[in-house]
């Protein structure tokens, strides 16, 4: 039973890492904790994206469409009516799923690169809508929210870590379940998956909804951590590109690799900040090198070596 041993080993490594991460506030400065907090939310974005790309085989060029829907729904709700934060966050997730469904239903009928193009256009549409309805959304400047999760950096950090851990368990479990198997088959050879009796469209749609759910949740959480929502932080295409790079960097089809990729990417950007303009350039170059030379990503590379042995 090598699979079971691996799984239990993975479980212990996971628990160990979470405990270790939970103890970090006793060593790290509030500044570093803040960066890690953002990185954890980013990790959820990247995991949700990997479920769609790595498993269902659909490239979603617009992860920020789903993230942005969740973030702005939560922010607007809080500003207009001010219900408790959990309600705002859940509403954000619900709207992200709904928006994702409306987008994916027609888009999944398209073949080839068109699905990706539709998702890209969706981001631009959302961005424009936010600018146009500036009265409610704050437009290009963005909007602040009256409530935040906590004003204490350590508490915020623990919230993010717990959220990340729960999402990781659910998404990873899903990827290893029967549905994960069917999704992988649909992504790799849709014709054969159909000939085996699987409704490929139904499964891909479900994957899109799950991806939307976690993206929306994380987007809304991020807003209530930062206390503000703006196009530059949750919707801009460049944010979407970072999510994609994080997932590919960490390892396609691994789910957990996406977290590593996200943390690496955010930390690298932060530590290279003294380089000024060069900062983004260096990070992009590293990402490019990894994609070119280790297309399976960091975790994917390790797993593949394990497979061969």
């Amino acid at each position: 039973m090598p699979a079971r041993i691996l799984r239990s080993r993975l479980l212990w490594i996971g628990i160990g890492l979470v405990v270790l991460a939970a103890l970090l506030p006793f060593w790290l400065s509030a500044y570093l904790l803040g960066i890690l907090t953002a990185a954890y939310y980013f990790g959820v974005f990247a995991m949700a994206w990997d479920l769609l790309f790595g498993f269902a085989g659909e490239v979603n060029f617009g992860p920020t469409f789903l993230i942005g829907l969740g973030a702005y729904t939560g922010a607007i709700l809080d500003n207009q009516w001010g219900p408790p934060i959990p309600v705002c966050i859940l509403a954000g997730a619900a709207v992200a799923v709904l928006g994702g469904l409306l987008l994916a239903l027609p888009a999944l009928r398209l073949r080839g690169p068109y699905f990706g193009l539709v998702t890209l256009v969706a981001v631009l549409l959302l961005q424009n809508a936010i600018v146009i309805f500036a009265g409610v959304t704050g437009g290009e400047i963005g909007m602040t929210v009256p409530d935040v999760l906590s004003i204490d950096a350590t508490v915020n950090y623990w919230y993010a870590l717990a959220f990340l851990a729960v999402c990781a368990v659910i998404l990873f479990g899903l990827s290893r379940s029967a549905i994960g198997l069917i999704l992988q088959a649909s992504g790799q050879d849709a014709v054969e998956a159909q000939a085996l009796g699987f409704n490929v469209t139904k499964h891909k749609l479900a994957a899109f909804c799950i991806s939307a759910l976690f993206s929306g949740l994380a987007g809304a959480m991020l807003v209530f951590y930062e206390g503000a929502a703006s196009v530059d932080t949750v919707i801009d295409i460049s944010i979407g590109v970072q999510v994609i790079i994080a997932a590919v960097l960490g390892g396609r089809r691994t789910i957990l690799g996406a977290v590593l990729g996200a943390i690496f990417l955010i930390l690298a950007t932060e530590f290279l900040r003294p380089l000024g303009q060069l900062n983004t350039f260096v990070v992009a170059a590293v990402a490019l090198a990894v994609i070119l030379f280790w297309p399976d990503g960091l975790l994917g590379y390790v797993l593949r070596r394990g497979e061969r042995e």
Binding site: G173, A178, I182, Q194, F198
Partner: protein, 488 residues
């Protein structure tokens, strides 16, 4: 062998644009019967299989499974109704073991069942044992030999417990012993009362297994009966061989000159399938050499190896120099022009633009001269000069493809199956054009064909390729005597 047919296909029609790929096909398969569906490339047999499975939607006709019409339903519904397919090529799940790949086929089409039902593991193991994967079920597909990958595909089909099994080219790429094992598995389907459809290029490979054979050509049924009857059928023989084999006396001078192209023990592997096995070949300057062989024998692979499109072992020398390490583009510039069987025309460009592209690298004057000469060689292209390539008939497209290759002023012209899907009348036109080409230039030609009557008259020498190996070499006159009867 009596009772109601399990699978009943009536009046099946499929059009792709202007092309009628399948035209009114009827077929019946009873429970416990194996039907062979054969036809050369482009005959529409694979399309029939896809129409039955629902991968393509039929334009007309019925596909009845035990009386229920399934035509036009999506493939997953058809699969759930009881039709299964064994694909020739598939992409297995590489991160999962063989056993998990088989389990996949046992899962329900449900979003709510997160874990496999109890008993699935046991069934998957039993199926793995049955198809001969017992020893390797915990390995990953990428570590398996080709035959085992095909066994896994077979296992997935068995797992679905279908009433009708469609098998695409059951024996392609397998060795003799493996063929016997797979035949036994397919006989097992028959013994269990499943209806089996085997789709293959020729009767020979499935003759020992099938109860009946249906032969197709250009989308229509041309013969039906036992394997023997179909093999003896006049129309079938004409389609595969082109009728009576005639060899014309050829100029003998060519053989004396230096070899322009030399292949020494060239082998090609596609993944794990042996597509070419130590093939040697010589083509002298000015010579016309034909390689005959049925579809799947390895002709296209051979040409692609020469053109630098697939990696190979062994030596390929052109004009005395090794082609190893040269890119496909460099090989083409050195004077080898390949005219692929798929023609690869630019469909949305005019005939003239296609030709101009072929002669892109020539200086303006010689390009014009070459164009004039080609339009003389293929007068029909002059009439069609401003028409879009896509709108040409099959024969005209083939002539355009040859003309475009000739625009490059090659020293060696490789023609891969130019007769593919062409009606007999067109073949004659094409044959005459080739004859004129031979008379008006000293170009060297390497022709790959399954239609022997088309391949022989022009040839100085003939090679016979079968199952990735060169079986025979000699002048065309002796081919008819020595190989003519055993070819089909």
């Amino acid at each position: 062998m009596s009772g109601e047919p399990r699978l009943q296909v009536r009046g099946l029609v499929k059009r792709f644009g202007g092309l009628v790929a399948v035209n009114g096909i009827d077929l019946d398969i009873r429970p416990g019967e194996i039907l062979g569906l054969i036809g050369p490339n482009g005959s529409g047999k694979s399309t029939v299989m896809k129409l039955i499975m629902g991968i393509e939607r039929p334009d007309a006709g019925a596909v009845r499974l035990d009386g229920v019409d399934l035509a036009g339903r999506p493939p997953h519904r058809i699969a759930r109704s009881g039709i299964g397919i064994v694909f020739q090529h598939s992409r297995p799940l590489h991160r999962q073991t063989v056993l998990e790949n088989i389990k996949l086929a046992l899962l329900p089409d449900s979003l709510l069942r997160l874990a496999a039902a109890p008993g699935v593991d046991e069934r998957a193991r039993a199926i793995a044992e049955r198809v001969g994967l017992g020893a390797v079920m915990h390995r990953h597909p990428s570590t398996l030999p080709f035959a085992d990958l095909r066994r896994m595909e077979m296992a997935k089909a068995i797992a679905r417990d279908p009433r009708v099994v469609l098998v695409d080219e059951p024996f392609a790429g397998l060795t003799g012993g493996e063929v016997a094992a797979f035949s036994e598995l397919i006989r097992g389907f028959r013994a269990e009362g499943r209806a089996v459809l085997l789709v293959d290029h020729n009767v020979k490979s499935v003759a020992a297994l099938v109860d009946r054979v249906l032969a197709m050509y250009l989308g229509e049924r041309i013969a039906e009966g036992t394997a023997d009857e179909v093999m003896r059928d006049e129309t079938v023989r004409r389609v595969y061989l082109g009728g009576k084999i005639e060899a014309v006396a050829q100029r003998a001078a060519a053989a004396a000159s230096a070899p322009l192209l030399e292949l020494d023990e060239v082998s090609v592997l596609y993944g794990k399938a042996q597509a070419l096995d130590k093939v040697s070949l010589r083509v002298h300057e000015g010579e016309f050499v034909s390689i005959v062989g049925l579809n799947g024998a390895g002709k296209t692979t051979l040409f692609n190896a020469v053109s630098g499109l697939v990696p190979h072992n062994g030596a390929i020398r052109y004009a005395g120099k090794s082609l190893a390490g040269m890119t496909a583009g460099a090989i083409a510039r050195a004077g080898i022009a390949q005219c692929p069987e798929t023609r690869e025309l630019f469909g949305d460009m005019s005939v003239r633009e296609n030709l101009d592209l072929g002669g892109q690298h020539l200086p303006r004057q010689s390009r014009a001269r070459q164009l004039d000469w080609l339009l003389e060689l293929f007068p029909i292209l002059k009439e069609r000069a401003s028409q879009m390539a896509r709108t040409l008939s099959g024969g005209e497209q083939q002539m355009l493809a040859i003309a475009r290759a000739l625009m490059m002023q090659p020293k060696l012209l490789i023609l891969d199956e130019p007769t593919l899907g062409l009606a007999p009348v067109i073949l004659e036109l094409l044959s005459k054009a080739l004859e004129r080409l031979r008379q008006s230039t000293d170009i060297t030609v390497l022709l790959g064909e399954q239609n022997v009557t088309f391949a022989l008259p022009h040839a100085d020498r003939v090679y016979l390729l079968e199952h990735a190996r060169m079986l025979w070499e000699g002048p065309p006159a002796r081919f008819a005597e020595e190989m003519g009867t055993g070819y089909l």
